[in-house]
Symmetry: C2
Subunit: 299 residues, 2 copies
């Protein structure tokens, strides 16, 4: 059973941080999210790659139990080039080549349509809407986005937001969408829509989960060695959705746990370039950090 | 018994936030800190005011059990004028009039010298050093500062830091003093000095407590109505020190509680201009918010 279905980008990234640089490495929101989800469940990806995409990456994803039959083949893979300065909270883009993504229409394989959990990772909201329409009886639709879509496709974005159950945004995106500097007010506005939960990712400062009349504040993990924050937000959303797909429990208490597992995978991801650190993470590593997350919060 | 002794500024502030403006209101690091400490213990202030300082403020402080015999009298009170934009994490200064502060030499009353707890609120590090020297047998010296002293009096500042037990800094100050963007590395550097604990105040993102091999992450309280963040950091340090002076317990577990009480008083302080919100706070309000702080971090 494919769960969750994840739509997003598959990319070849070139980037520089104060701690090194890499060229044409595996990236993209669907990659990060599906690798994160694969710690808990069997995700399937909807995306597009080009003929230049190394086959070893597909083999790696499949080996992790990630279904890739929803990945279409175009001419050239989406590429992103960027860098981070000392404040690694913000990625600076040098160049984006949409390539095959430009004309991508998501075709949803038959067995994907039966999925109960959906993660709409960061991609054009029209594609997110197409996936929402294709999944027959979703139990939970989790959705991410980015400032580009807020600025350029707000109408379609709001349509998608109105059909999603959980929004996963960073603080700047939440402020921008709901037009207020105050995150508590942004949450009230979100919860007046169809949204059942708003999650605000704050990078090193942790994450907030707002539900009807509850508020959860997940700590940021204190990282001594951050190498590359690319994909941390995607990892968060993928792990969050994957954990819920595994546990099939949508109580507020379990959403809190899912937020913590999302934070854990994201914290490991930042310790290496591209998806490198996640390759070596085992289940006992997750449980070790889960215990640490509890410990740093105890009073 | 006077405890803690607090050195810092007493000011008349004029400021504007997106939610209103006030003129010549009570402010200054020693005022905020001592009011915060007075929820737990009987602090005494070392500072200077001018002949223009309204007597009602002194009466108010005394009524809260704050000893003001360490407050010297000069010509004109220190004045600060500033504003906040929508991102209320950063105060912008329009004008600073040092006035009487310029030639202030701290004279420490006899009964202050017997204090066990000391809070060196933000002020010239030479004055902080003078107080350290005057207190006979301090059990705990807690110290705050600001970017101005890091830039202009680094030598004296480092001398004071080397004599303090607990540093209370905001994230930018910690990065600046220890010359690293990484807060975990800043903490390691601080703990290699005489410092027993480094606390990093992160405003709406909460606070971090680093001790020898422990790390505590206190959540930020989700405020729907922030009116004026002036003095929140001073409140934090004052409440932290006051709580420890009351409980006389320097275990790591109790330092965590002191951090939470510091966060609670700071969160209330932001709900009003100047010290207005703190006037009406009762002990049951502290306990109510303490319970909320527990609840929002439970998983």
């Amino acid at each position: 059973m494919i769960d969750p279905v994840i739509i997003g980008t598959v990319a070849l990234d070139s980037l520089e941080t104060p701690f090194g640089s890499v060229k044409n490495v595996l990236g993209g929101s669907a990659c990060y999210a599906s690798i994160a989800a694969s710690f808990f469940s069997k995700p399937g990806i909807l995306s597009i790659i080009g003929k230049d995409f190394p086959d070893k990456h597909i083999k790696f994803l499949n080996k992790r139990g990630i279904d890739t039959k929803g990945v279409a083949l175009g001419e050239k893979t989406f590429r992103w080039q960027g860098f981070y300065e000392f404040d690694m909270n913000e990625a600076k883009t040098l160049r984006t080549e949409l390539n095959a993504l430009e004309s991508y229409k998501a075709e949803v394989p038959k067995d994907y349509k039966k999925a109960k959990y959906v993660f709409l990772a960061n991609i054009d909201p029209e594609l997110q809407l197409a996936v929402i329409d294709a999944i027959k009886k979703p139990e939970l639709i989790v959705m991410d986005t980015m400032n580009f879509w807020i600025e350029h496709k707000k109408v379609q974005l709001m349509k998608a937001i109105n059909k999603a159950d959980v929004l996963v945004l960073n603080d700047a995106e939440a402020r921008q969408i709901f037009n207020t500097p105050n995150l508590v007010k942004a949450a009230s506005a979100a919860l007046k829509l169809n949204t059942k939960a708003l999650i605000i990712k704050k990078g090193e400062h942790g994450a907030l989960l707002f539900t009807d009349n509850k508020h959860f504040n997940a700590p940021g993990y204190p990282l001594e060695n951050i190498k590359d924050p690319t994909g941390c937000g995607d990892c968060f959303g993928g792990a969050f959705t994957g954990y819920l797909a595994k546990t099939q429990d949508l109580s507020e208490a379990n959403l809190r746990k899912a937020v913590v597992y999302g934070s854990i995978i994201a914290s490991y991801n930042a310790e290496g370039f591209s998806i490198e650190r996640l390759r070596s993470i085992k289940h006992e590593d997750l449980e070790k950090r889960y215990k640490e997350f509890k410990d740093i919060r105890e009073f």
